[in-house]
């Protein structure tokens, strides 16, 4: 039960990308992920989830800085231009 410092990477993006991104994230070495539904507004306009392919998801991955860096880099390169995408990290302490 010694706490362990890690990064929590939060990815807010379009629902249609779920399967594709999960595959990429696991392939880059993540041990797990958590997904929940969201809606919102950003530079790509309003995303209310009220229409097919119109909602957001939040993908959260806990990992070390290297893993988070790899994921950010990959997603930045492949999806940033064409899709609604916001990524940010914060410091967390794993308590398991």
């Amino acid at each position: 039960m010694t706490a362990q410092a890690m990064l929590l990477l939060t990815i807010l993006t379009e629902e249609v990308l779920e399967d594709i991104l999960i595959k990429e994230i696991m392939a880059l070495g993540a041990k797990g992920y958590t997904i929940s539904e969201a809606r919102g507004r950003g530079t790509h306009g309003l995303r209310t989830g009220k229409w097919s392919a119109g909602g957001n998801i939040r993908i959260e991955v806990i990992g070390d800085a290297a893993l988070c860096g790899r994921i950010v880099e990959r997603l930045h390169a492949n999806y940033e231009r064409d899709y609604g995408l916001l990524m940010f990290t914060s410091a967390v302490e794993i308590q398991n």
Binding site: I20, K50, W51, A53
Partner: protein, 314 residues
């Protein structure tokens, strides 16, 4: 005018959206309604198909699909040259208009019921067949000379995307079960169909009202396209149906199919296959403009066209 109460539910939804009512249909209910409609239409088509020799329909089907492929191939240069839209946007919108709308088709069937006109039930099969080439043409147009198409992902998205999958699955089950075997399911899938369609139109109205605004940003050209294109496609469909010897009802339904634009299967497929296209444009045009145009103006006009061509030709 051929007035149908179900379309009033669409109006109710649009007004709620415009007046910012807090009315909303939860996402999961929308999903359930669309699963119901796709399955019900598929089952109906399968039951009808079981009454025919499938072989007899093959040639007709091929002709209908080939002529249907003209639609995106005409739409693309119009959007690209007249509308000066980007290659990706033109291709994506062309795919939406080559593809079809199950709900528009359902409103058409509903009108035939009211007019006591019969139609060739197996036409529902073409609902499935028309979708696929349209989406593929869209992708080819977008990628022409750039050659980095994710065909695998796209074909998967198209064939196993829920709309085609449920339509085709319903067709097969209806075909296997036949009209006797399907009886115990009639009470759910056929008797309630029109009521469910009304609720679905309510939700479509809510969404369409938000799309009309999106469309406004992109000016008059796209709005004009969204009205003229279905009229062109319907004309094509009317001639094709008449040539193939379909009944008045069948001719009308084929015209309606051609005239309708997709807003379920195509948006999802294009978002994956042509991500640089702006989805607000294609959905704005097809759902915000063409869909209401079709159910209020188009459908009565297409029925008149089918009656006229049969009267003159007969």
């Amino acid at each position: 005018m051929n007035f149908e109460p179900v379309v009033l539910f669409f109006v109710l939804g649009v007004i709620a959206g415009l007046l910012r009512s807090d009315l909303k249909i939860p996402g999961s209910i929308y999903e359930a309604l669309s699963i119901f409609i796709l399955l019900a239409i598929g089952l109906k088509g399968g039951v009808e198909l079981a009454k025919h020799q499938v072989g007899d329909l093959l040639v007709d089907g091929l002709i209908i699909v080939l002529i249907g492929a003209v639609i995106p191939l005409v739409a693309f240069p119009v959007l690209r040259l007249l509308g000066r839209m980007s290659r990706a946007d033109s291709a994506s919108i062309a795919a939406h208009y080559g593809s079809v709308s199950v709900v528009t088709f359902s409103v058409g069937i509903t009108l035939l019921g009211k007019e006591l006109l019969d139609f060739e039930g197996y036409l529902i099969v073409y609902l499935v067949l028309l979708e696929i080439p349209a989406l593929m043409i869209g992708v080819i147009l977008a990628r022409h000379g750039q050659g980095q198409v994710r065909w695998g992902k796209l074909l998967h998205e198209v064939f196993f995307g829920k709309s085609i999958y449920l339509l085709a699955g319903g067709l097969l089950i209806g075909f296997v079960a036949g009209s006797e075997g399907i009886k115990p399911l009639d009470k759910l899938f056929f008797d309630l169909f029109k009521g469910v369609l009304a609720l679905f139109l309510l939700e479509m109205g809510l969404v369409a009202s938000s799309r009309i605004a999106a469309l406004r940003e992109y000016g008059a050209f796209l709005a004009g396209f969204a009205v003229v294109m279905p009229l062109f496609s319907a004309t094509l469909g009317t001639f094709t149906g008449w040539m193939l010897g379909l009944s008045v009802g069948g001719t009308f339904l084929l015209a309606t199919l051609y005239a309708s634009a997709s807003y379920i299967a195509a948006p999802a497929a294009m978002r994956i296959a042509v991500p640089e296209a702006n989805p607000a444009l294609s959905i704005g045009a097809s759902l915000g403009m063409t869909f209401p145009f079709n159910i209020f103006v188009g459908i009565p006009v297409y029925l008149w066209m089918a009656k006229t061509i049969h009267a003159s030709g007969g």
